[in-house]
């Protein structure tokens, strides 16, 4: 079922949790609401579910206006961050709850309910745990039971609040793939909240980046990564180093550091955002760039080695991070305390008076 969100806003006391925002979600789509805490993503999810009322605006499921419909009658599936399994009920009773509380006329027979519960438990591959209590399950198992419970009433909209937040990295990855598979198989429309950019990019058809109650950008993961449209999105998607430059005679200057402007770029002051893998590292300045940095830490992370660098003779708000393939790192053998020079290969330039970036290549 498609979801239409129009001019939804919400305040808690003095705090503007959501500024009027609109979003159009297609039937069968999987949408990730991505943002830091306090960005309004959970509030938006709860408003879609009907757990909070919006101050303004309206929400439509398909062509049904649900703005003033009670949670109970919206018939959405909702998975809570801490699962909210009923601790005094067995796994099977938890999953059956949504069917058990149906009005008598709509309620399936007890044997039918039992059959549906077993089917759902099979689907989440936990049929052998039917008679356990939630306290006897691991985090990943609880998560899957919560999902089975939410799907029992066959909702057309599934909402998930930080679904993998409390799980360790390996289980998280497994469950992510599994949820993606389930989504494709059953075809429900899902909206999930996360603060983990990797999760949002991997799982979503489209990612909604939020900050301070606003939607910053809505895009497919690939497009979002290729063309972030604001400083916030760039910062939040991470791994970007920022060079604050004053334009002067075809160069950006920052105290003793300098960087050549690429051809065809107007001379403007601003910030240059360069992702951590878009660098070339050398022992001496190059024609294009003179950016001296000191190696403060070396961290091998998976397929790459991350160098943490602090500027020498120029200013940067944050420590710079540069990722090198192991091969390149081994050939050179950098050490802590050493001075290196970096040269960007590509980046994005935000002129001081513009919110939109210009992509750059050297």
């Amino acid at each position: 079922m498609s979801i239409l969100i129009e001019h939804i806003s919400k305040t808690f006391g003095q705090f503007q949790a959501l500024s009027p925002l609109s979003l159009d979600i297609q039937e069968g789509e999987m949408i990730g609401l991505l943002g830091p805490s306090g960005s309004g993503k959970t509030t938006l999810l709860r408003i879609i579910a009907g757990l909070e009322g919006a101050d303004t605006g309206r929400i439509q499921f398909g062509d049904r206006d649900v703005t003033n419909l009670h949670v109970r009658d919206r018939r959405v599936g909702f998975v809570f961050q801490n699962y909210a399994l009923f601790r005094h009920m067995t796994v099977a009773d938890n999953v059956a709850f949504g069917l058990d509380v149906l009005p008598r006329k709509e309620r399936p027979s007890p044997s039918e309910i039992k059959k549906r519960v077993m089917h759902l438990l099979d689907m989440v591959q936990l049929a052998h745990l039917a008679n356990r209590f939630p306290s006897q399950l691991s985090g990943g198992q609880k998560q899957r039971i919560a999902l089975a419970r939410a799907l029992a009433t066959q909702p057309e909209v599934l909402l998930l609040d930080e679904p993998f937040g409390a799980l360790d990295a390996k289980v998280r990855k497994e469950l992510r793939r599994w949820l993606r598979g389930l989504h494709e198989e059953l075809g429900f429309t899902s909206v999930f909240v996360t603060h983990d950019q990797e999760e949002a990019l991997e799982l979503s058809d489209r990612v909604v980046v939020m900050s301070n109650g606003y939607i910053e950008q809505v895009d497919k993961p690939g497009d979002l990564y290729a063309s972030p449209n604001s400083r916030f999105v760039f910062d939040f998607l991470g791994n970007a180093n920022v060079f604050e430059g004053k334009a002067d005679q075809g160069k950006w200057l920052n105290q003793q550091a300098s960087l050549q402007l690429p051809k065809g770029i107007e001379q403007q002051d601003g910030q240059l955002y360069v992702r951590s893998h878009e660098f070339f590292v050398s022992d001496a300045p190059t024609e294009q760039a003179n950016l001296p940095l000191k190696v403060v830490a070396i961290n091998p992370i998976g397929a790459e080695v991350r160098l943490e660098l602090s500027p020498i003779g120029w200013q940067s708000k944050d420590i710079w991070e540069i990722d090198l393939p192991h091969k390149a790192f081994d050939q050179h053998g950098y050490e802590k305390g050493q001075t290196v020079f970096v040269t960007p290969k590509a980046g994005y330039f935000f002129a001081d008076d513009l919110a939109q970036p210009t992509p750059l290549h050297w």
């Binding site: 109970r72 909702f78 909210a84 009923f86 005094h88 709850f97 939410a150």
Partner: protein, 284 residues
């Protein structure tokens, strides 16, 4: 050097054996003379004139009436405060409203105020010359110096127990379970019966036990509003005092032993509940 290291690894800070045994010994001694000896004394005194006299004094008409009245008061007070306590706890943990903090402070008034003062306040309001009592008197309704008054002050004195047990638990459990139930389509009653009530069950029973214990044993507030009419408005604690003042020491202690017995039963039940709860938490 190595022996010193070993010694320090065995003893934690504050584990001086002298201090430890001095404190434990003193505590045991005080517990014995303050709690255990008086309790034994009650039963000893009750039986001082023999078992036959003990049971005879319990079967005396006034004593039987006092027992009956006490049970009636408890039987009326407990359900009232059970419902009120759940309502109160639900309101302050599930809703935000102006005056919520104030309400949580106000509910402790019965704990903070001396029960005698509570009794006097009720007398002032509902006595025949009181603000409400005068009007009630015209309608021929008498609350004070009759059993309804005793129930009213007992309800007042015991009203925080259930809510006090429930509030911390309900705060800690949060409202997610209830939200989950509503999203799954549960009606208000289904939500309460199938999700909220099982979650608070043990705390609720615990609160009821405490309410009951206090309702049975309350003296101060009840003595103000009861009027001490033998065989009519005497509860068991009041009856104990009357018998004692009448120099019927053995009979007084016999009645007191009943109260002590109820108290012991309550403690036993309370220990059982706590044990159940701990076992449940251990499996969580």
């Amino acid at each position: 050097m190595s022996s010193k290291k070993q010694a320090s690894s065995q003893l934690r800070v504050g584990d001086n054996p002298l201090v430890k045994w001095l404190l434990v010994g003193l505590t045991l001694f005080l517990t014995a003379i303050l709690l255990v000896v008086p309790l034994i004394a009650i039963f000893q005194q009750a039986f001082v004139e023999g078992a036959a006299h003990y049971f005879n004094s319990l079967l005396e008409a006034d004593t039987l009436h006092a027992i009956g009245l006490t049970l009636l008061v408890a039987a009326l007070t407990v359900p009232v405060n059970l419902v009120f306590g759940v309502m109160l706890a639900w309101s302050v943990t599930r809703f935000e409203f102006p005056g919520r903090k104030l309400l949580m402070t106000l509910m402790d008034i019965p704990f903070a105020v001396s029960p005698v003062v509570a009794g006097l306040l009720y007398l002032l309001l509902y006595g025949n010359n009181g603000w409400i009592g005068a009007w009630l008197y015209e309608q021929d309704i008498q609350l004070m110096f009759a059993w309804p008054g005793i129930v009213m002050v007992t309800v007042f004195v015991t009203c925080p127990f259930v809510a006090r047990e429930l509030i911390p638990l309900m705060q800690q459990q949060g409202r997610e379970d209830e939200e989950a139930a509503v999203i799954l389509g549960a009606s208000g009653w289904q939500l309460f019966r199938r999700v909220t009530l099982p979650n608070i069950k043990w705390a609720l029973i615990y609160g009821v036990i405490l309410t009951n214990a206090r309702a049975v044993g309350e003296f101060g507030a009840v003595s103000v509003v009861s009027g001490n009419i033998r065989g009519e408005t005497n509860t068991l604690p009041l009856h104990v005092q009357l018998q004692y003042e009448d120099y019927q020491a053995a009979a007084a202690f016999a009645s007191a032993s009943l109260l002590a017995f109820i108290a012991l039963l309550t403690l036993l039940f309370k220990a059982f509940i706590e044990w159940r709860q701990e076992r449940q938490e251990a499996t969580l």
